[in-house]
C-alpha cells in the first residue's frame, strides 16, 4: 500500500461486526494532518467503533487502516505512541484524585517521579483544576471530568487526538471551554478527530466533516462543501402581516417552482432554492403585490438540513433511538 506522509489517517474498507450488526460497514478515510476532522452522525452510526479501531482498541474484521503510515494492527504500539484517546465515558480512575490520575499516567508514559509530578501540576493549572487536584474524580462536575479526561490524554502531546463526543451532556460554558482546548491543541500542531451528534459543533470546529450513518460515510467534505451539495440555499421570509401569507405562498410557488414551507410562526415562510438569481425577481414581485416584508434572508442550508437530505432523517439522537 502507498504511504501518504501528509495523511494522519487513511483507511480502506474498514468493517466491524458485533454479532449480526455491521457496526462499521466499509469506512474509507483520508484525514489530512493538522486541523480538526469531524465524524458527524447519530447514536449507533458507527463513529465510536471506528475510532476505537483507529486507536488500536478494537481489531477490524476486515479492511486496513494506517495512522501516520503505521498499520493499526501490525504496528499497534507505533500507533499508540502517536495517538491518544478520550473516550465517551470517564477515562480516568474515579477513585483516585486528579493529581494521582495524571501522575499515574505520566509515570506509565515514562516520566520520572518528579517529572510526572511537575507535568501533573502544569496540566492541572492549564485546565483550571488546581482547586480540585486533591479530590477524588468521582466528586467532579461534568465539565471538570471532561477536562481531566482531556488533560490525561495530552500528558505527552499526541500527534493525533481522538475525542469521542467531547461535549455531550455539558453545559454551554463547559462546552465552550472544551472547544477552546480543541482549538488551542490544533494551533499547537495536534490533529484532532472528534465525533459529535451536534451539527453546530461540527460546523464550529471541524475543518472537514464525514457524515456517518449506518456504518458508512454518506458524505465528506468541508461544511461549506456539504451544504453546497444539498442545494444553493434556503430563503427565509418574514411578513409584516400574517394575513398575507397565503398570497405570498402562492407567489413564491409560482415564481420559484419549488415547494414552500410554512413555519410555525404565522408570518414566516421558507423555501429551498436551486436558482439563486430568481430571488431578486421574487422581491420585486412581492412589493408589486403590496406584501410588506420585515425580513428577508437567503443563506446556506444548515447542517441539519444537510443531514436530513443525505440520510433521510434528522441528526438528533431522539429520532434515531429506534434505528440503532
Amino acid at each position: 500500500m502507498k504511504r501518504h506522509s501528509a495523511l494522519a489517517i487513511e483507511s480502506h474498507e474498514l468493517v466491524k461486526h458485533f454479532g449480526k450488526v455491521r457496526a462499521v460497514d466499509g469506512i474509507n478515510l483520508a484525514v489530512p494532518t493538522g486541523g480538526v476532522y469531524g465524524f458527524l452522525g447519530p447514536n449507533g452510526a458507527g463513529k465510536t467503533t471506528t475510532i476505537r479501531m483507529l486507536a488500536t482498541l478494537l481489531r477490524p474484521d476486515s479492511g486496513t487502516a494506517r495512522v501516520f503510515g503505521h498499520e493499526i494492527v501490525r504496528e499497534a504500539n507505533a500507533v499508540r505512541s502517536r495517538v491518544s484517546l478520550t473516550g465517551q465515558f470517564a477515562s480516568v480512575d474515579e477513585d483516585l484524585t486528579g493529581t494521582e490520575n495524571l501522575v499515574l499516567l505520566a509515570r506509565l508514559l515514562g516520566y520520572s517521579r518528579s517529572q510526572a509530578r511537575a507535568r501533573a501540576i502544569e496540566l492541572l493549572e492549564a485546565f483550571d483544576l488546581v482547586d480540585a487536584a486533591r479530590r477524588q474524580v468521582k466528586t467532579y462536575s461534568g465539565g471538570m471530568r471532561r477536562r481531566i479526561d482531556i488533560a490525561a490524554s495530552i500528558i505527552v502531546t499526541p500527534d493525533l487526538l481522538f475525542l469521542d463526543e467531547p461535549t455531550s451532556e455539558l453545559d454551554p460554558y463547559s462546552r465552550n471551554q472544551v472547544w477552546d482546548i480543541v482549538r488551542t491543541l490544533v494551533t499547537e500542531g495536534t490533529t484532532v478527530l472528534l465525533t459529535t451528534q451536534h451539527l453546530e459543533e461540527a460546523d464550529q470546529l471541524a475543518d472537514r466533516i464525514a457524515v456517518i450513518d449506518h456504518g458508512r460515510i454518506v458524505a465528506e467534505g468541508t461544511s461549506g462543501e456539504l451544504k453546497a451539495s444539498v442545494g444553493s440555499g434556503t430563503l427565509h421570509i418574514r411578513l409584516r402581516n400574517p394575513d398575507h401569507r397565503p398570497q405570498a405562498e402562492q407567489l413564491l410557488t409560482l415564481n420559484l417552482g419549488v415547494p414552500v414551507f410554512l413555519k410555525s410562526d404565522p408570518a414566516e415562510l421558507s423555501a429551498h432554492i436551486s436558482e439563486p438569481e430568481r430571488v431578486t425577481d421574487l422581491l420585486s414581485e412581492l412589493s408589486r403585490s403590496d406584501i410588506p416584508v420585515i425580513s428577508f434572508s437567503f443563506g446556506q442550508p444548515s447542517l441539519d438540513e444537510v443531514f436530513l437530505t443525505l440520510t433521510g432523517h434528522h441528526a438528533t439522537a431522539d429520532e434515531n433511538k429506534g434505528a440503532v
Binding site: S81, D93, L96, L108, D149, I154
Partner: protein, 274 residues
C-alpha cells in the same frame, strides 16, 4: 471572554512540550500499576474488610464451634485447623483479583491503559502484585490471631514465614484463573457465582477441616488429588517442622501449570477484548 483567558493562560505552554520520555520498562510499568492498587486501598479502605474481618470470623467460628467435637478440644483443633483456614481465606480472597479486573473493564480507564504504549501485561501483573499485599495482610491476621488464641507452631517463625510464602506463590498462580474468568464474564455477579462454585468444593473437599481418613473411600480419593490438600499438608508440615518436600513439589508444579496455562490465555483474552 473568560473561557478564552482560561485557554490562553497555561494551556499553550502546557501543550508546547512535545518531547516524549523514554518508554517505561515492563517492571516499572507493573510497579506503577501496583502503586495504583495501593492508592485504591488508601481511598477505599472498606475494601479491606474481606481480608481482615473474614479471616477473623472463620478462625473464631471453626475453632470454637467445631473444635471440641472434631478434635476433643478447641486448643488441639486450632493447631490442626489454622493452616487450613489460612489457605481457605486467602484462596477466597483471590477471587477479588478477577472482580477488580472485571469492574475496571467496564470503565473508560481500561481503554486508556490499553491505548498506552506500554508493556501490556503490566496492568494485570500490577493488579496481581497489589493483591499479593492483600493476601499477605490476611495471612498476618490469621497467624497473629491464632497466636493469641494459642496456636504454637513447632516450625517457629521460619516455618510460618515459609508457609506464608508458599501460600502467596499459590494464590498468585490461582489468581490468573479468576483474571481469565474476569475477562470473559459479563458482570461481577456472574463472576462471583462461578468462582464460588469452583472454590467451595475445592476448599471444603480437602483436608482443611478434617483428616480425610474419616471420609468415604471415593471422597477420600477425590480429596487426595485436590491441590488444596497438598498445599494444606505442605503448610502444616512447614509450620510443624515435618518433612513435606513431596507436597511442596506438587504445589509448585500446580502453580507452574496454572501460570503456564492461564497467563497466556489471559493475555490472549486481554488483547482480544472487544
Amino acid at each position: 471572554m473568560e473561557t478564552q483567558a482560561f485557554a490562553e493562560k497555561g494551556l499553550r505552554s502546557a501543550l508546547s512540550t512535545h518531547t516524549r520520555p523514554p518508554r517505561s520498562s515492563p517492571l516499572s510499568a507493573s510497579l506503577i500499576f501496583w502503586w495504583r492498587a495501593m492508592l485504591k486501598i488508601k481511598h477505599i479502605p472498606e475494601q479491606m474488610f474481606d481480608v481482615t474481618a473474614s479471616p477473623i470470623m472463620f478462625l473464631l467460628m471453626f475453632t470454637y464451634l467445631f473444635g471440641g467435637a472434631l478434635a476433643g478440644s478447641t486448643g488441639e483443633y486450632l493447631q490442626f485447623v489454622l493452616p487450613g483456614i489460612l489457605v481457605m481465606t486467602v484462596a477466597f480472597i483471590t477471587i477479588y483479583t478477577g472482580l477488580g479486573i472485571n469492574s475496571d473493564i467496564k470503565k473508560g480507564i481500561f481503554d486508556r491503559f490499553r491505548s498506552l504504549p506500554i508493556w501490556q501485561p503490566a496492568f494485570l501483573v500490577g493488579a496481581l502484585l497489589g493483591d499479593t499485599v492483600r493476601y499477605t495482610i490476611a495471612s498476618v491476621v490469621v497467624v497473629v490471631l491464632g497466636l493469641i488464641m494459642g496456636f504454637r507452631p513447632d516450625g517457629g517463625a521460619v516455618g510460618v514465614l515459609l508457609s506464608v510464602l508458599l501460600l502467596l506463590v499459590f494464590s498468585f498462580s490461582l489468581s490468573w484463573v479468576w483474571i481469565a474468568l474476569g475477562l470473559v464474564m459479563r458482570t461481577p455477579e456472574s463472576l462471583m457465582a462461578v468462582s464460588m462454585i469452583i472454590l467451595f468444593p475445592l476448599t471444603f473437599v480437602s483436608n482443611v477441616f478434617v483428616s480425610p481418613e474419616t471420609m468415604p473411600v471415593w471422597l477420600e480419593a477425590l480429596v487426595d488429588v485436590n491441590p488444596i490438600t497438598y498445599l494444606v499438608t505442605a503448610i502444616r508440615g512447614l509450620m510443624f517442622d515435618t518433612t513435606v518436600a513431596k507436597e511442596i513439589g506438587w504445589v509448585l508444579l500446580t502453580c507452574a501449570l496454572l501460570v503456564t496455562v492461564f497467563s497466556p490465555l489471559t493475555m490472549y483474552l486481554y488483547r482480544k477484548k472487544r
